[in-house]
């Protein structure tokens, strides 16, 4: 009984877990508690976090989007190909977002209008986007501008790369963007009709339809969000890591989905939390970044993340039972 009560608020537990993990790392090594660590964590959390924000919408409808990882990199590769042909960076970013939106729209139409299972539809677009990225980039690695080259300004969206500005060098500006996106999307999910309908679809799609709501439209919208945020994730990835290869994005989607689930969004739909998602992603990233600090290989990060994931889902089930 006490156990059940204790875990009734998954969000609180997840935040507590994040804090505990940080404390333990700072006790294990005095190198952990410094500004660079936060920058490092942010840098490698961006792309997963953006994907996770988008896919939270899809998961809230009771669906799944497996294509986000490859769409992220596909968008980067397509954008990068234009960039190499001299397209200004600003336009390149728009092209990337458009690529994401188009893939999202395709997923949405396949799932809502053609009634394909989301798993299959997005598995298909996952392969298509991976292939398309390879085709467009001619399987080359695409390097995005850095330093003083033209177009390198876009990296400043995610981190300060130069001395002498208002903000210190290496300041993770992307964290601010991430926070804004998270807040805006949390409001969209919880305070707008769009969000309410998305959660309703996840709760009971047929009943929502019989309430006179255009479920196809709103379900599609969720996938479009997912696609656009995947593209944003692709942008964050190339800003931080500068290069994209056709096979880079493989498996990203699972990191994002794991973050979403740890954050308390239910895979069966109807319940979604953007804030939880962000925290879920940060738990995984802190483990990822923290373990090298104490000289431990990444396998242990996977090991522990796996345990946390299973535990998080079990909490969700406990909560459902308690309510049901």
């Amino acid at each position: 009984m006490n156990l059940k009560k204790l875990f009734s608020n998954q969000q609180a537990v997840v935040i507590a877990a994040l804090v505990v993990i940080c404390i333990v790392f700072s006790l294990l090594t005095d190198k952990f508690l410094q500004a660079t660590t936060f920058t490092n964590i942010s840098k490698s959390a961006y792309y997963v976090a953006f994907m996770a924000i988008g896919v939270t919408f899809v998961i809230s409808t009771g669906g799944i989007d497996l294509s986000i990882g490859t769409v992220a990199i596909c968008a980067a590769l397509i954008g990068g190909t234009f960039m190499e042909k001299g397209t200004p960076m600003f336009i390149v970013i728009l092209i990337m977002l458009l690529v994401g939106a188009v893939f999202g729209l395709i997923n949405g139409i396949l799932v809502s209008h053609f009634e394909l299972p989301a798993f299959i539809a997005t598995l298909g677009t996952m392969m298509v986007s991976r292939g398309l990225g390879s085709i467009v980039s001619k399987t080359k690695t695409i390097s995005f501008p850095q330093g003083d080259s033209a177009g390198a300004w876009f990296r400043e969206i995610f981190m300060v790369t130069k001395d002498g500005g208002i903000l210190p060098k290496n300041f993770p500006t992307g964290f601010i963007l991430l926070a804004i996106c998270a807040i805006v999307m949390a409001v969209v999910l919880n305070k707008t009709r769009l969000g309410r309908y998305i959660l309703s679809i996840g709760s009971n799609k047929e009943a929502t339809r019989l309430s006179g709501i255009d479920v196809k439209k709103y379900e599609t919208m969720a996938y479009v969000f997912s696609g656009v945020f995947a593209a944003l994730a692709g942008l964050a990835y190339v800003a931080v890591f500068s290069t994209a290869q056709p096979n880079t994005g493989n498996g990203f989607e699972l990191d994002a989905i794991a973050g979403v689930v740890i954050g308390g969004t239910s895979l069966s739909g109807g319940v979604g939390s953007i804030v939880g998602t962000i925290i879920g992603v940060f738990i995984m990233t802190v483990l990822k970044i923290g373990f090298p600090y104490i000289g431990v290989q990444s396998h242990y990060q996977l090991f522990i993340t796996g345990i946390i994931l299973v535990f998080a889902v079990y909490m969700d089930i406990l909560n459902r039972k308690r309510k049901g």
Binding site: R193, S203, E206, A207, T208, L210, G212, I213, G270, K323
Partner: protein
Amino acid sequence: MSALLTMKNIKKSFSGVVALKNAELELNKGEVVALMGENGAGKSTLMKILTGIYSKDEGTVTFEGKEVEYKSVSESEEAGIAIVHQELNMMNDLTVAQNLFIGKERKKGFLIDDAKMVEDAKELFERLNVDINPNVKIGNLTVGKQQMVEIAKAISTNAKVIVFDEPTAALTDSEIEELFKVINDLRDKGTGIIYISHRMDEINVISDKVIVMRDGEYVGTLVTKECTKDDIIKMMVGRTVFMEPKTKSDVGADAEVVLKCENLNRGKHVKDVSFELRKGEILGFSGLMGAGRTEVARLIFGADPMDSGKIFIHGKEVSIKSTKDAVNAGIGYLSEDRKRFGLLVDKSVEENTCISSLEKFTKGLFIDGAKSKTVSEKYVKELKTKTPGVSQIIKKLSGGNQQKVVIAKWLVKDSEILIFDEPTRGIDVGAKSEIYDLMERLVKEGKSIIMISSELPEVLRMSDRVVVMCEGRITGCLDISEASQEGIMTCATNRQGGK
């Protein structure tokens, strides 16, 4: 002689909410006990405690002289207590025989002996005198047949106590008759039977005594032979309920036609259906199960696409291609299966009340939570919905109160045409009359209602006119002044296209 089964002073609460206060039950060998009570009175909870689905907080259960406490359904089954659930628990892709013997598969060595199972199933169905092929997939059977399989399953365990939870809701009259024969048979063999139903007529026919519950408490026991329907109802609700048929309609023949359907067609379920609905009228739709009434409703509501046909609202033809079109045209639909099609059971009363009219509660980009709360609260009050608050999760409400939330949803939307599909299914007597009052109030306020109902007394009590369907066609349209149970049944069995 000591009783076969005794439950005494049973208490149970869920996260602070008391479901059972002081429940009691006594059942002897070879006896049929009807367990009566309004929905939410605690009958299902009591049965779930008996069969080990819930654990009790306090009290004793004595079975065959020993105090028992089952921790799971398999334990209670093992001990000889079987339950036929109101909601079907079937694996649709398995055959009838496979479903029947799930968990008790007949084996030949390590392998499942399908032939033996089919044989056993046939034997069982012969005993029940029903015609079901054990080899077909259960999903292909009608709901009534599925229910019979469920009953057969309970009987097959040779249980000493069998609980029937509203077993007849989906059965035809002939099937009900067979069921009663089986129950009588079981009684003669010494099986104790607990029978839960809202149908008073059945209680009179089948039960030996009636145990009445109200608000989680034991109220009293009546011997069936010595009491009348009204005695039971009085005990259940503490008031008298009349179910007198309407004799005359107040709607004039010249009232405006709000909805007109012309030659609606869809597959074999809806054939050339044409009718009119007048302002302020309750148009009853009667017929046997599978006559196509729900299908017509779903066509009008845009839930299924039609093959051909025209729909006019206020004389103007409208194109209804989606539920959204229908809702915008002023139609609201209350499904017969509230949990699946009517409600978001994991969401709150407020969310369900406002879901169809969120545009009214949107300020700029955002949902105006304060306004939606106020409006929801207003309808909770107006419809006398029993809920601790508008943030209560729908799942925790009783059937009648859930139905009120669905009604509230369409009232908020201000729909002028309401389609009630089995409005009182699974709803207890007290709540039933409240729903009736509500429907009458709505038509007085100028709404028009199509009411699909399988209960003839209900049709005769509520309707101004009765449309009768059989096998996808309209086979009769009777004014209430000339409608009778017999007349309706004649039309309902008038097979025109069938061979």
